[in-house]
């Protein structure tokens, strides 16, 4: 037994909490292996002094405050952890086999920074890990956070890292234990869990891993350090070049993954903007079968010459059709695989239009509410240990899922249709079976429902579908009629309303049957440019090419928007995006090389499995960077000029609202009157004296083009933002029907 007087306040709180637990559970005194003697000298709370002789407590560190609260409540014998605060930093007190203090971080509290102070120089190859408040202007609150953690660490004798079990979580916990707790990283234990449910947390606490996963930490540190080296050096080279040339500051960032990702977008944009369509034709026949009219397609889907189309139409004129053959195929459609983070993000984008970042944020909230398992997983496996039956039983308490869960529970065996992808740390995303304790917001409700239905669907039977292909001969020309039908719903039934299975039912048709052809006609078509990436498809592309990690991809896409390298939901690379990539390709092609990025990525993964050394990867990364930085430095003037022009253009582009609906050739733009300094929308053709279209704008708040047209009148729209208020989407057409007057 040690007497501890490091922080009397925490002991007062702990002692009070221990007493309340003892009051409620008088018989469990024996379960405590500490001796508690409290002497209340004064009943006034503020002057309360408590002398507690007790064993030191266990300090548990979590990644987020919500997780701290859940862990403390799960571990507390009464299930009611006590919340305390120090300088606004919350922490939780629990009592189990001994007193426990659970303190949260707020994500990363430490970061990589250069040894020297200052931002206006490069190259930078010397770095160290520092508290975030020392390196980032907007991270002041991390200071008090670290002070509180350090204070709490002094009274602890056991340390547990309970941050998320992945690379980022491991680094967060490691840095806190090493720097804020005074070198406790080697004695700390690790709590590993995939859901924040009471059962799993209790189990994780009883089965602590004896030490931190140092290989994972090494891999994570290397990734942060390599990314920092690339990011800081390249961004400074570009930013300072532009600043020195124009005298104006604008952050022009790029990085190890950001550059190659921008390359995908610019390559697609080039293909779209230089695209020349070619004409082709489709020939179709309207066929009457049992009084119903169906459309059959010509056997060759694409006909490339108008003359040939005319020949087909002439030759089919007035002819009847004869069924040559009917081909029926039955096929099994296997259930979907469980969600890993990428497939959840893609599905949420295609169903609800949520960006990957938004989906991840929502999933994170659901995870912290213990409604779903850990979302940043690349696994498509659901091990039986998660207790399929228990989850389904809990879900059956929700009326919408009752019937579906009962169907699955009636099965002899529950076997998920697992995918190939694995994650050593976590299973695929699944509902924990816990039900919401608060009213979920609409997006949260949707994502939770999607996760629940997907979870049930993976246990469903394969669907049986049938495709029918009817070949019809019309004067020697063959047309094809296609049908599709679901014979047995299987898993589709569990995944409603998210199933996208098209049904085309055909009547009974037999070989040799004569059919009336009502019309044979052609449709003029043009080849289309490749589609623009959207955040979901770009994320998939990054996954396929193996660049970035499941935790960083969504943020990188967001950064491209923040830096104004892309705009709009259908991602359009801006002039600035083009220029930045152009410069990188011209002066440092290795930086945007997808192969190089992937190979670095693979080597960092190898550190995790102890097949590669952190030092080697770092040295090689620096070796690649050094000549690149030298090249950029030697061309600083040219780069500065090119970038400054692009920034200027981008600033003009930012003010373009859309095409002028009056003259049709000009573009509407946010302009400022020289006389009054008031802002308004005007046509660019005004300067050519061709169009004097102008519309007033609100003079307060921030106005930006919305990139979307008004649903009522089709005119371009703007968004007006006032601080502390919801943004207001404005159609400036005075005659728009939405204004009520028209």
């Amino acid at each position: 037994m040690k007497h501890n007087d490091d922080d009397p306040h925490i002991y007062q709180l702990l002692a009070l909490h221990v007493l309340s637990v003892l009051d409620n559970r008088p018989r469990c005194t024996e379960t405590f292996n500490f001796d508690i003697r409290l002497i209340f000298e004064n009943l006034s709370f503020h002057r309360l002094t408590v002398c507690a002789r007790m064993e030191r407590y266990t300090l548990i560190i979590t990644e987020k405050p919500d997780a701290a609260m859940r862990i403390a409540c799960a571990l507390d014998l009464n299930g009611k952890a006590k919340k305390a605060e120090d300088n606004g930093v919350p922490y939780y007190l629990a009592v189990r086999d001994k007193p426990i203090v659970v303190v949260p971080a707020i994500g990363h509290l430490y970061t990589v920074a250069e040894d020297k102070i200052g931002r206006n120089y490069y190259p930078v190859f010397n770095f160290r890990w520092v508290p975030r408040y020392m390196a980032e202007r907007n991270a002041k609150q991390t200071r008090v956070w670290l002070e509180t953690i350090s204070k709490l660490a002094r009274g602890a004798d056991t340390y547990i890292d309970a941050c998320d079990y992945d690379i980022e979580g491991s680094i967060i916990g490691y840095c806190i234990l090493k720097y804020a707790c005074g070198g406790k990283e080697n004695v700390a234990k690790r709590m590993k869990y995939s859901t924040l449910t009471k059962e799993e947390l209790e189990k994780a606490y009883e089965n602590l891993l004896p030490h931190l996963d140092f290989a994972l930490i090494e891999a994570g540190r290397t990734r942060h350090e390599v990314d920092w080296l690339y990011g800081v050096n390249l961004t400074r080279a570009l930013t300072l070049a532009a600043k020195d040339w124009s005298g104006k500051y604008a952050t022009i960032s790029t990085g190890r993954v950001q550059g190659p990702t921008l390359k995908f977008l610019v390559a697609r944009e080039r293909a779209i903007r230089s695209f020349v369509p070619t004409p082709y034709w489709e020939v179709k026949a309207k066929v009457e079968i049992n009084g119903e009219i169906f459309e059959a397609e010509y056997e060759r889907e694409v006909i490339e010459s108008r003359r040939e189309v005319e020949e087909i139409l002439n030759s089919c004129k007035g002819g009847n059709g004869v069924v040559e053959n009917v081909e029926v195929k039955r096929f099994r459609q296997l259930p979907p695989t469980p969600f890993d983070v990428g497939t959840l993000q893609s599905e949420a984008y295609s169903l609800f239009g949520y960006t990957p970042r938004r989906t991840l944020d929502i999933a994170q909230r659901l995870y912290l509410d213990a409604l779903i398992s850990y979302p940043r997983t690349s696994s498509q496996k659901l091990p039986p240990a998660i207790n399929y039956v228990g989850i389904l039983k809990s879900l059956s308490l929700v009326p919408e899922y009752r019937g579906l869960a009962a169907e699955l529970l009636a099965k002899k065996e529950l076997k998920p249709n697992e995918g190939k992808k694995e994650d050593p740390a976590h299973p695929a995303i699944y509902p924990t079976g816990n039900l919401p304790e608060r009213i979920l917001e609409e997006p949260e409700k949707r994502i939770w429902d999607l996760v629940v239905r997907r979870f049930m669907a993976v246990f469903g039977e394969p669907a049986i579908r049938q495709s029918v292909k009817v070949r019809i001969n019309v004067n020697g020309h063959r047309f094809v009629l296609r049908g599709r039908q679901t014979l047995r719903e299987g898993w589709l039934h569990f995944y409603e309303p998210y199933v996208r299975a098209e049904e085309v039912l055909l009547p009974q048709i037999v070989e040799g049957q004569k059919l009336r052809i009502l019309q044979v006609f052609s449709e003029d078509k043009f080849t289309k440019p490749p589609p623009r990436y959207n955040p979901g498809s770009l994320l998939r592309k990054m996954e396929e090419t193996g660049i970035g990690t499941k935790a960083t991809r969504a943020d990188i896409i967001q950064t491209l928007y923040d830096r104004k390298y892309v705009r709009d939901e259908r991602m359009v690379a801006t002039e600035l995006g083009f220029e930045v990539l152009d410069l990188l390709e011209k002066y440092c092609p290795s930086i945007v090389s997808i192969e190089l990025t992937r190979s670095l990525e693979e080597r960092m993964d190898k550190i995790q499995s102890c097949m590669e050394k952190r030092e080697n990867v770092l040295l090689d990364a620096i070796e690649i960077l050094k000549p690149v930085i030298e090249e950029l430095k030697s061309k600083e003037k040219v780069i500065g000029e090119q970038l400054s022009r692009a920034i200027k253009k981008a600033r003009v582009e930012e003010r373009i609202v859309g095409p002028c609906p009056k003259c049709g050739t000009g573009r509407l733009m946010i302009l400022y009157s020289r006389k009054t300094r008031k802002r308004f929308i005007g046509c660019t053709n005004y300067f050519k004296k061709r169009c004097n279209t102008a519309f007033p704008l609100p003079q307060k708040g921030v106005v930006r083009p919305l990139g979307k047209n008004c649903r009522k009148c089709g005119w371009p729209t703007v968004q007006v933002r006032f601080r502390g208020r919801r943004p207001w989407n404005l159609c400036f057409n005075p005659e728009c029907p939405s204004k009520g007057g028209g």
Partner: protein, 75 residues
């Protein structure tokens, strides 16, 4: 030398790298158009300039070629 359409540096035929790419596509696709519709070079340029699927740079090059009455190489 600047590109005849934008302010970028010209690399080939008076076009910058981006407009040169569009120009190459226009020349390449003409053969397909001719085979499909028997259209003349001039008519082809006018049609692609109006087509909603034609890319922005390709439109600009087509308009420039049409305005300057440039002949198709090989016609």
């Amino acid at each position: 030398m600047k590109c005849v359409i934008c302010s970028r540096e010209a690399v080939k035929n008076g076009y910058c790298e981006l407009h040169a790419l569009a120009y190459r596509n226009i020349v390449k696709k003409y053969e397909l158009w001719k085979k499909a519709t028997g259209v003349s070079w001039k008519e082809y340029l006018s049609q692609i300039a109006k087509n909603p699927f034609t890319g922005e740079w390709a439109k600009e090059v087509a308009e420039h070629l049409a305005e300057n009455g440039e002949e198709h190489i090989g016609t």
